[in-house]
């Protein structure tokens, strides 16, 4: 069992686990009884997508996935904060 195979297995497991994690957060996003549950599910879905991009970039050895994951992280933060503000005030920009 070579180290390349071990690394291959680890990266495959990482991708499968992150895909399952995205599925679970999608379940909370669709099921969530109230709006704040859906916001938490969306936030976690953004995190899982970002980590999936990082793992895919490390597996393929290309640096181009880094910018994509950075953008997904920033957009996820702004989306969650905006949704939370909307839940409190009923409007985003006053």
């Amino acid at each position: 069992m070579t180290t390349g195979l071990i690394l291959w297995l680890a990266l495959t497991w990482a991708q499968i686990a992150l895909a399952l994690a995205a599925c679970f957060s999608c379940l909370r996003l669709f099921k969530g009884p109230r709006a704040q549950d859906r916001v938490i599910g969306l936030d976690t879905l953004y995190f899982c997508a970002m980590l999936m991009l990082v793992v895919t970039g490390a597996r393929l050895g290309t640096p181009f996935f880094y910018e994509a994951s950075m953008v997904v992280g920033v957009v996820g933060f702004v989306a969650t904060v905006t949704a939370a503000k909307f839940l409190i005030r009923g409007e985003v920009i006053e």
């Binding site: 390349g4 957060s25 109230r34 938490i40 050895g61 904060v81 939370a84």
Partner: protein
């Protein structure tokens, strides 16, 4: 799938990177299972922090190890994402938590513990000083 690119790493890079990748992705999976399974919203608010604290950190450390060998220099631009997550996660969770507290108070939800509810104003014949009882700590 071919493992030729992954065969180029020596064992002292590949094994720690594999360990960090497995630990991070498993923690992310556990956090989202908690998000799916826990009963109350205030319990569920804690579960995704597993994803954003050590799930993301371990995956980013593994990625730093792999890219540092591939680029034959220290590549730490993944740590920018790590610092960004470290800064923004408390902000988002505090905003969502305050929104949920506000909405539960308005709706009088039973998920909220009794001492966190805003009490009803006293009837008008009571003394005005006691009209609004002091709010307990949030």
């Amino acid at each position: 799938m071919s493992t030729t690119y992954l065969e180029t790493f020596p064992w002292w890079i590949a094994l720690p990177a594999a360990f960090f990748m497995v630990v991070g992705s498993t923690l992310a999976l556990l956090g989202t299972i908690g998000l799916w399974q826990l009963k109350s919203f205030y319990d569920r608010l804690h579960a995704p922090t597993l994803v954003s604290s050590w799930g993301a950190a371990a995956i980013l450390i593994g990625s730093v190890l792999l890219f540092s060998w591939g680029g034959s220099r220290l590549v730490i631009h993944e740590l920018v994402i790590g610092v960004f997550l470290l800064v923004t996660t408390p902000i988002t969770l505090m905003m969502v938590g305050r929104a949920a507290l506000y909405r539960d108070r308005v709706a009088g939800s039973r998920e909220l513990p009794e001492h966190l509810h805003l009490h009803e104003p006293a009837p008008p014949e009571a003394a005005p000083a006691a009209a609004l009882p002091e709010r307990k700590a949030d």
